[in-house]
């Protein structure tokens, strides 16, 4: 039983995933993208397999050690109709968008859909 749990844990979060963190100096939510860290949620690189997820996690640790980001972690996503990753959990979805009470603030304002 314990082995089963350990194996499940070793597999990490349910794929596909993206890598979210905060910029150390600004605090902004950042995503690991094809060209490194980006503030644009739509530019987040999506890992569909465990190998890519492990690579991204290692990039997260490297970004932390290099004092670029803090609190990097993988977030399970679903791919929406437009092909963009949307976090499966409402908390992480909030981080991708910004405060629900302020559509004029956060990612939803900085990177509006259709822009």
């Amino acid at each position: 039983m314990a082995d089963v749990k350990a194996a499940a844990k070793a597999k990490g979060p349910k794929l596909p995933v993206i890598l979210i963190a905060n910029d150390l100096l600004d605090g902004d939510v950042v995503f690991f993208g094809a060209q490194g860290w980006t503030r644009d949620p739509r530019a987040a690189k999506v890992a569909f397999d465990a190998e890519t997820a492990a690579f991204m996690e290692a990039e997260g640790r490297a970004g932390f050690v290099a004092n670029i980001v803090v609190d990097p972690y993988l977030v399970p996503v679903e791919i929406d109709a437009a092909g963009f990753p949307v976090a499966s959990h409402y908390r992480e979805a909030m981080r991708q968008k910004g405060p629900s009470i302020h559509p004029d603030m956060g990612k939803q304002a900085d990177y509006p859909l259709g822009a």
Partner: protein, 567 residues
């Protein structure tokens, strides 16, 4: 109000330099992230869901116009043009950048403000009664005690690494507006029954959060001059013996609970007996020096009632409602204290724009002896307004969008920032408050319902004080969806009580309807003159449970019908 002397000024400047240095050492690798985190928290800096958040201390909730203007300026320059007043009389910026924080601290120091110990496992910013110095039922103004504690607790060498955070509240009045029974230490200024000497009743071990508890009286009477030595004894016992193995059991309330109040008292008194009081306590001169800053402002000698205000109220029903609802009786004849609601219907509880801050600073400066207060229900107060001036003040508040006449009513809702901002939250709070406020927007209906404190927290940590809301709402996660538990019967006053759950958790969209169902039970059950909490106390929880359950049943019925395919 208190003004910094050269010592306070230098202390705060040096604290800014220290923090600037700490940021530099975090960036150059001297401090690890794990080491920097408690250091930044002790200076009020969190990393939240979208950004850093900076919490500014407003000791015992007192501000002047110059300070509020500076807070507005910081909001404009370093944030998104607004700030948020919290349930602990502090102010939060939601979007500052780490690299700007030292400069923000400089600007705060320019107006005798700081962020010292607004977070972290240390003694937090001290809170008090928003009507301190105003209320008729006051033995003594609690703010000099608050200021003494602010100074004594600031960068305390021994109590900077406590098992957990530690919150102290002080009231000087009979009616408790500072929620002293739900703080780690609550102090009530009182007069000794026989000697008439002024001292404190000391309450320890109250708190909300995961394990809500009402504090226990550990000293019926502590002579005023012995305060700091006694606090040192309590803090030392807690620092040495509070649990550090489990952060959910680390607050002093758990120590008091697990050792038992009698044994806890014995340990505190044993420690206190070993202290050399005169070497620890504030010199009497110093206590008097601080108290002098809180002397009453130069009031005019006026009759009790104002003919000007009476006439204006007769002519303007909106003004009349405002004074009726938001006015608070002042001990000085001819004056009134006005609660200024930060709860407009559909607004974010406690939020204020930079423009509103500037307008309000002008109002406080012109009409309230340059003084304003922050309340733990996330509103502001103009503490000393001439009744003759109230019509002009009301007009100015209206122009600034600050004249909502709902103080204490069902739409004056306390809500923590919740999942819209907070990294710890499990559910949103603000949209729930907005939904309820819109449901009860009608002013006549609000007045018919009367005083009804609703308090909403977005997680078990209870920053929204839901346990002590007459109606409390706690947002949790259930199966990947936000889910809300409703409690009834909580009370933060001298009759402190914890609310009890009415039934299972419900979805966000059902909360306003559930609150309406609960309010309907009250309206049906109440006897003449009873406010909501009194009806709950008299009638018990059962009718409210029944009303809540009936709502759920009918709501589910309605949903099932709605889900039926059209024939």
């Amino acid at each position: 109000m208190y003004r910094y002397d050269e010592f306070d000024e230098r202390f705060v400047r040096e604290r800014v330099a220290q923090f600037r240095h700490q940021v530099e050492r975090r960036l150059d690798g001297s401090l690890s992230d794990d080491e920097f985190k408690p250091l930044r928290l002790k200076n009020g800096l969190y990393l939240q869901l979208h950004a850093y958040m900076l919490r500014v201390a407003i000791p015992y909730g007192t501000l002047n116009a110059r300070q509020l203007r500076q807070l507005a300026h910081i909001a404009t320059r370093f944030d998104k043009g607004y700030a948020h007043f919290t349930t602990r009389q502090n102010l939060q910026y939601n979007w500052p950048k780490l690299k700007d924080v030292p400069e923000i601290l400089d600007l705060l120091a320019d107006v005798e403000m700081h962020c010292i110990q607004t977070s972290g496992n240390c003694i937090r910013n001290v809170t008090s009664d928003q009507f301190a110095g105003v209320a008729k039922d006051e033995v003594e103004d609690p703010r000099p005690t608050g200021e003494l504690i602010r100074q004594w607790s600031s960068l305390h060498p021994e109590f900077a690494w406590l098992p957990r955070k530690f919150k102290i509240a002080v009231t000087g009045a009979e009616h408790d507006r500072a929620a002293i029974k739900v703080h780690d230490i609550g102090l009530r200024v009182l007069r000794h029954a026989e000697t008439g000497e002024v001292g404190y009743e000391v309450i320890v071990g109250g708190g909300l959060g995961r394990t809500p508890m009402i504090g226990k009286v550990i000293r019926d009477f502590l002579p005023k001059g012995e305060l700091l030595a006694y606090l040192e004894a309590v803090m030392r016992v807690y620092n040495a013996e509070g649990r550090r193995d489990n952060k959910y059991k680390a607050r002093v309330k758990i120590l008091v609970h697990e050792t038992g109040p009698e044994e806890f008292i014995r340990r505190v008194e044993a420690e206190y007996a070993q202290l050399n009081g005169p070497t620890i306590n504030a010199p009497e001169d110093e206590v008097e020096r601080i108290a002098a800053y809180f002397a009453p402002p130069p009031y005019e000698a006026l009759p009790e009632d104002s003919a000007i205000l009476d006439a204006a109220r007769r002519a303007d029903p909106a003004l009349d409602r405002f004074v009726e609802q938001n006015g608070f009786a002042h001990k000085q004849p001819g004056y009134v204290a006005l609660t200024v609601s930060l709860k407009p219907i559909g607004g974010v509880p406690g939020d204020m724009s930079d423009a509103q801050m500037l307008a309000f600073a002008d109002i406080a400066e012109r009409w309230s002896f340059d003084e304003l207060r922050v309340t733990h229900s996330q509103n502001l107060v103009l503490p000393h307004v001439r009744q003759d001036d109230v019509p002009a003040v009301f007009a100015a508040l209206q122009a600034a969008g600050l004249a909502t006449a709902n103080a204490g009513l069902v739409t004056d809702i306390i809500a923590c920032p919740g999942l819209d901002y907070c990294a710890l939250a499990t559910a949103r709070s603000i949209p729930i408050a907005q939904g309820i406020a819109r449901t009860f927007a009608d002013e006549a209906r609000q007045r018919e319902i009367g005083p009804l404190p609703i308090k909403i927290s977005g997680c078990i940590n209870a920053c929204g004080h839901h346990h002590v809301g007459a109606i409390g709402i706690l947002g949790l996660e259930k199966a990947g969806v936000e889910n809300y538990q409703i409690t009834v019967g909580g009370d933060a006053t001298e009759n402190a009580a914890l609310g009890e759950r009415l039934g299972p958790g419900i979805d966000a969209e059902d909360v306003p309807g559930a609150i309406e169902a609960i309010v309907d039970v009250y309206l049906k059950e109440r006897q003449s003159g009873e406010v909501f909490i009194e009806t709950v106390r008299r009638a018990g929880l059962e009718p409210f449970k029944a009303g809540f359950q009936a709502f759920i049943a009918s709501d589910e019925g309605a949903r099932t019908l709605a889900a039926e395919p059209a024939q």
